[in-house]
Amino acid sequence: MKLKSSIYIFLLLLFVMPTQAQNNDKKNKNKEELVQENKNNKDKKASDAYKKEKDRKDDDGPYKNDDGNYKKDKVKSNNGNGNAYGKNKNGLEGREFGQERARQARLQNQKRKLKFKETVVIFERRLPTLRERLQNSRILLEKQRPSLTVQAYEVKRVKLVTAEQKMTALEKSILIAQTILY
């Protein structure tokens, strides 16, 4: 009799415990989903920004269009496919999609870094020449001053000051670029 009842209790427990565990698991999952949803909402903004940026530039990146203008026009490269986190895309399962995207991003990053380095090196070399030209222009302007009208001199002087400011900005940008690269 005792044995029978203990077997019944055991069986009852067997049925109840997994169900309970599953319920707890579901509750936890729901909580996690809520947290994840909140996170996703935050991440969505970043992801949207990424999409917009990806749309803006085509895959080969920097920096000028064929007609020599800086790239500002929008080119859709992903045909409007989204990049929301944790979703299945392009026939790939979630994890594979993420892995593929990270791999592509790494490749893209390596390419861009190389191109970026080339650009930075070119302008690093150009910097002393520009500085020298600026110095020469300053000297030349002072030499020309007697032959120039006050207005013409003032116009040139303003341009020189602007050029000097731009030179400082350029040096700063190159410094930032060097920090990224080295």
């Binding site: 077997i7 069986l11 067997l14 049925f15 997994p18 169900t19 599953q22 698991d25 991440d43 970043a46 992801s47 990424y50 940026e53 530039k57 990146g61 920097p62 920096y63 000028k64 800086y70 990049n83 986190y85 944790g86 979630g94 994890r95 993420g98 892995q99 995207r101 990270a102 592509q104 991003a105 790494r106 893209q108 990053n109 870094k113 191109k115 970026f116 650009t119 930075v120 302008f123 150009r126 520009l130 030209r133 600026l134 222009s137 030349l140 302007l141 040139k156 341009k159 020189l160 602007t162 050029a163 731009k166 030179m167 900005a169 350029l170 940008s173 190159i174 930032i176 670029a177 990224i180």
Partner: protein, 73 residues
């Protein structure tokens, strides 16, 4: 009685399998999100590099043009 015990074990193993599956799915999803975040970080770095390179080129061109204006009457 025996059948009941067998059935309960079957049930137990099924639920544990289901739990494992859910766990794996969640792990997969977490991994995917991690991968995608890595991709986004790299994209951000790319963007930053592009923006700096464009600024450098534009600024340099502007300086050139200003110096030309100053040097030429």
């Amino acid at each position: 009685m025996k059948y009941l015990i067998v059935l309960s074990f079957l049930f137990l193993s099924l639920t544990s399998c289901n739990n494992d599956k859910q766990k794996n799915e969640r792990l997969d999803e977490e991994e995917q999100i991690a991968f995608e975040k890595t991709a986004d970080s790299l994209a951000m770095v790319n963007r930053e590099m592009d923006s700096i390179a464009t600024t450098i080129q534009e600024t340099s061109d502007e300086i050139d043009s200003l110096l030309n204006d100053i040097d030429n009457n």
